[in-house]
Structure formats: structure tokens, C-alpha cells
């Protein structure tokens, strides 16, 4: 068996037993990238030489200290909007194609301490703006399950790299579903943590009140192991928080006395019938495990997407103002004055979706429209949060929903209709607006394409959704993940 096919836990145990070296493991991943990635395009940058060098150093460290962490020697893919010191970080944008990160993101620092190997930087929609990875300035990523389909987005490169067995785990970022939706489309597990569990320091800001870094794994345990390694308060991100509930690797336990809510607004028209059938199957099996299901209502769900597509672009327009062709990144020397440098650099450097969102945000924030759009959206955001709070008061442990209304669509199908692309986020955005944790894990296949189910937890209750996810993996959808 090639080593790149292992889960993190399997590789960890075998590294401990000295069955192979970190260098051998890393080489198998790099070989798989070489073999497959010209077709899939999951990576923007591959650290071929550095990864081998890093692996050799970790092998040396293991000879002294042993395999001291669960992630020691594990080769990972990192979404290319997370900074790794002295390497190119593009954010999926031509405006940063030569940008060298001058420092490590906090999550990278933490992974370094664990002794991981960084294989390379994975593709994404430009500045994480998109649901298909087609908006990348470096070409679209393809879904490893069917190369004619999208892998989802914006963390499509991370999801495809993992589903294509080119790495053992990956980091992504999730602003409105960008980890969970590609995890669903690529048949893997993806966690978007509670807002504040993971430091955003060194993550390129898209919409700061919604962005969170999270993990992608080929089974529930792997995603949990990665999240455990990167969580924690960071003085460099004042919205990060020390949780009273640190991440635990879930154990298979009885779910008796568990109460799971089914928000009725997530099961209405627009949901693919075959996906609905798969969710029904989970419900039946979990009932057999002693779980009680109750129908709950989140009445403002129907407004969540509209709310998101006001708040997010507003923050985008502010966050992307920094790319001006002066301090770093692409700079157009054409023109006569400073204004020309701004205009030319930004028009050449930003792709269409970035430009669209920058303008949309500037419009909804401008005098005369602020109250009608932005302020109203912030009030609706409060209503959406209150919907969830009412549900948690009913002693609900978590919610079960589909992750996406449909399986992965064909490349090109929605690229000319931005609004239809936005609708793909309909089940994921509320979680970001309310700052809650969410996980997507495989629920089966529709037309030979993977689809996921989503578990939503209360603030910092990741352990509960991990627990249910583990049961689903072991007792319901057996065989869909590497650990199932």
C-alpha cells in the first residue's frame, strides 16, 4: 500500500513503530501530486525540495525525541490564503502571484511545533470568494471523483488534494461554507470551528467577522486531530478565545439521551430528493442508536443568504482596499500619477468575482444605502443568532442538516450566473453568521458524486458534533470515510 493512502492515525502508529520514515511518507505524497495534479490542479505551489528537507529534519528529530505528537511527520496541504514564512502566498489572486510571506500564521507556527511536513499551498477561489474554485487566478481545480465537476469552494484545492490522496490532511478557511461545501462535494470530512476557537492571524482577511480557519480530514478523527493542534487563544488575534471545552478526539460512545434537532426550513424545496433520502437514512439509523429527534424551527433561515451577501461583501470591500499596488503585490507602472497605479493594478490584479464583491460592498455601505442594506442586514444577523439561541434552550445537543442542496455541478455551469452560484451556500452561511461550529461528513453518493450531511453545534460545542459525526461514520455510513 502506498503511504499517501493512510489516515493520520494510521500513519502516526506506523511512524511510531518505525515501519517507515517521514521522508518515505512525504515522497509518496509528492509522487501522487506529480502523477495526478496536472489533471486536478489542487496545488498552486508544491514545496518539492523543502518538503523533503523538512521530512529529513523531522526524521532526525524523531531519532532524538521519538514521535511525540499525533501530527509529527504528517504531510499536509495548506490553503493558499494562510501564510507560511518565506514562501509565496497568492490568495488565489494574480495581484499576489509573487507575494512572499514574511511571517508564519499562528496555525502554521502551531503545526510546525508538532513537526508536520508542509507539502504545498492549495488552490482556492480568489481571496476565498466563491463556491467552486473556478474563480482562482491560477485555473480551476477539478473534482477527483469526476474531473468534469467542480470540487466546491473556496477550499476546493484542499478538499481535492485530500480526496485525491495527495496529502493526509489539509487546512482550509470557511467564511460562508468554504470548508464544509467542498468537503461535501469531495467526500471527506471538514470542520468549521466556532468563531474565535482558532486564531486568524496570518489568514488573508476576507470577511473578518465570519472567517475561521478549520480542518479537512479523510475521517472524523483526522479532522479532529488537526483542529486540536491549531485551536487556542492568540494574543495576535483579539477575537480568539480560550475555550472551556478543548477539542477531544471523539470516542465511540452511546448516544442515548442525545437530542438532535431537524430544522424544518432546511428540508424544503430546492433540496435534491436523493440527498433528502440519504439524510432520512441517517436519522433512522441514529434513532436505532437511541437518539431522539425533534423538529425545530429557524424561521429566519430564508433570509440568511441575503443577509450574508450584504455583510460579507461589505467587509470584503474594506479588507481588499489594502491591495493597492504600492506596498506589495502586482503593480502596474503604466499611467502618469498615483491614481493610475491604483486603478491599473487593481483592475489587472483582481478577477471578476473579487471586483463584483468589492463594488457590491462599497454600494451597500455608501451614504443613502447604508441603513437599507448594511444596517438592516446586521439586524437580521441578530435575528438569525436568536433563532439558534431559542433552539439551544430546548436542550438540543446539535442540529442535523444537508450540507448542500445538490451534488457538485459541472465546471462552467454556474460561472456566468453569480446569484445561482451563491445559492449553493444556502445551508452553510447561517452557521458563520451565528459564529457556530459546523462539520460536514460523507452521507453517500448521488449520481456517483459524494454528498455530505452537516452537524451544527452550539458555541464551542465542537466535541458534541464530533461525537455524533463519529457515530454516523461508524454506524450509519460505514465505509464512506477511511475510518468508517
Amino acid at each position: 500500500m502506498k503511504l499517501n493512502k493512510l489516515t493520520i492515525t494510521q500513519a502516526h502508529h506506523r511512524l511510531k513503530k518505525k515501519e517507515f520514515s517521514v521522508k518515505e511518507l512525504t515522497k509518496d505524497c509528492l509522487n501522487e501530486i506529480k502523477k495526478q495534479d496536472s489533471k486536478i490542479n489542487a496545488f498552486i505551489t508544491v514545496f518539492e525540495k523543502q518538503a523533503i528537507k523538512q521530512a529529513e529534519e523531522i526524521d532526525k528529530r524523531i531519532r532524538v525525541q521519538g514521535v511525540d505528537n499525533l501530527l509529527t511527520g504528517i504531510p499536509l496541504g495548506i490553503k493558499d490564503n494562510i501564510l507560511i514564512k518565506d514562501t509565496i502566498c497568492t490568495g488565489g489572486s494574480q495581484i499576489l502571484k509573487n507575494y512572499q510571506a514574511s511571517y508564519d500564521a499562528t496555525v502554521i507556527k502551531k503545526l510546525r511545533q508538532q513537526g508536520v511536513v508542509f507539502l504545498g499551498k492549495t488552490n482556492l477561489d480568489e481571496f476565498a470568494m466563491g463556491s467552486s474554485t473556478e474563480n482562482s487566478g491560477f485555473g480551476p481545480t477539478k473534482n477527483p471523483h469526476n474531473l468534469e465537476h467542480v470540487p466546491g469552494g473556496s477550499s476546493g484545492g484542499s478538499a481535492a488534494a485530500l480526496a485525491g490522496q495527495m496529502c493526509l490532511g489539509a487546512l482550509g478557511s470557511d467564511t460562508g461554507g468554504s470548508i464544509r461545501q467542498p468537503a461535501s462535494f469531495c467526500g471527506i470530512v471538514g470542520i468549521k470551528p466556532s468563531y474565535g476557537r482558532v486564531s486568524r492571524y496570518g489568514l488573508m482577511a476576507m470577511a473578518s467577522s465570519l472567517d475561521q480557519i478549520g480542518s479537512l480530514g479523510s475521517c472524523v478523527d483526522d479532522a479532529a486531530i488537526l483542529l486540536q493542534a491549531i485551536e487556542g487563544k492568540d494574543s495576535l488575534d483579539s477575537t480568539s478565545k480560550q475555550s472551556d471545552y478543548p477539542i477531544k478526539i471523539p470516542e465511540l460512545k452511546s448516544l442515548k439521551n442525545f437530542k438532535i434537532g431537524l430544522p424544518k426550513e432546511y428540508f424544503i424545496q430546492g433540496l435534491d430528493l436523493e440527498i433528502k433520502e440519504l439524510i432520512d437514512k441517517v436519522i433512522k439509523k441514529l434513532q436505532g442508536q437511541g437518539v431522539e429527534f425533534v423538529e425545530v424551527s429557524l424561521p429566519n433561515t430564508k433570509h440568511a443568504l441575503a443577509c450574508y451577501y450584504i455583510i460579507m461583501p461589505a467587509e470584503v470591500s474594506a479588507n481588499l482596499a489594502r491591495y493597492d499596488g504600492i506596498k506589495y503585490g502586482l503593480s502596474s507602472a503604466q499611467g502618469k500619477d498615483l491614481l493610475d497605479v491604483y486603478l491599473n493594478s487593481r483592475s489587472q490584479g483582481f478577477g471578476e468575482e473579487a471586483q463584483r464583491r468589492i463594488m457590491l460592498g462599497a454600494y451597500t455601505l455608501s451614504a443613502g444605502y447604508y441603513d437599507a442594506y448594511y444596517l438592516q442586514a446586521q439586524k437580521v444577523r441578530t435575528l438569525i443568532k436568536q433563532d439558534f439561541e431559542r433552539v439551544w434552550q430546548q436542550n438540543i445537543d446539535c442540529l442535523l442538516t444537508p450540507t448542500t442542496p445538490t451534488p457538485a455541478w459541472k465546471i462552467g455551469e454556474k460561472i456566468n450566473d453569480p446569484l445561482s452560484m451563491y445559492l449553493a451556500d444556502v445551508y452553510t452561511v447561517s452557521v458563520n453568521l451565528a459564529g457556530l461550529p459546523g462539520i460536514s461528513l460523507p452521507a453517500g453518493k448521488v449520481n456517483d458524486l459524494p454528498v455530505g450531511c452537516q452537524l451544527i453545534g452550539n458555541h464551542f460545542q465542537e466535541n458534541k458534533i464530533l461525537q455524533v459525526a463519529k457515530t454516523i461514520e461508524k454506524a450509519v455510513f460505514v465505509g464512506l470515510t477511511k475510518n468508517g
Partner: protein, 98 residues
């Protein structure tokens, strides 16, 4: 509904240079999106406080101490600038010379 002049005005504010073709495209796209997000205006939000962000933390303080960033790191930041003179970032003139 957003008209072409408004698109041009926003493009100017956000420092984007658009061709006439792009103005037409974005006018259509933005009109459609604004029509969709406009649904929020029908919701009764009387007495509902606006959400102020993603976190419930308030007033996060830290000691006002100088950091430990070293010169090498600041040098790396300056080195990223597309146009430089010694350690200064160079730009084109704000005003056009007559």
C-alpha cells in the same frame, strides 16, 4: 436597480478601472444581486439591535509594550514594495505636473 452611472461611480470609489463592456456586465450582475438581497427590507426589525460582529468578547486589553519584531522582519516587508528608493517605498506623484 443600479444604473450604469452608479456602477461607474462605485468603480471610481473602489479604484477599479472598468471597460464599457464590464460596466454593462456588472450593472446586470449587481442589479440581480441587489434585487435578491433587497428582500431583507421587508423584515420587521423594529427594536432589534444590529449585530456588531462575530465575537461576543468586549474590550480585549493587553499591556502596551513594544513588540519583539526584529529589523530583519521589517526589512522583508519593505522588500516587498514594487518600487523603492533605499528603504523607502516610492510612489508616483499624487498631482500631475503641469
Amino acid at each position: 436597480m443600479i444604473n450604469k452611472d452608479q456602477v461607474k461611480h462605485i468603480a471610481k470609489l473602489t479604484r477599479l478601472k472598468l471597460t464599457e463592456e464590464k460596466v454593462n456586465k456588472y450593472q446586470k450582475d449587481l442589479t440581480k444581486i441587489l434585487h435578491y438581497v433587497g428582500q431583507l427590507q421587508e423584515i420587521d426589525t423594529k427594536n432589534i439591535p444590529p449585530c456588531s460582529g462575530g465575537t461576543d468578547l468586549k474590550n480585549v486589553f493587553r499591556e502596551d509594550e513594544s513588540g519583539t519584531r526584529i529589523w530583519e522582519e521589517s526589512q522583508k516587508l519593505v522588500d516587498q514594495a514594487p518600487s523603492k528608493q533605499k528603504d523607502l517605498i516610492k510612489t508616483k506623484g499624487v498631482f500631475i505636473e503641469s
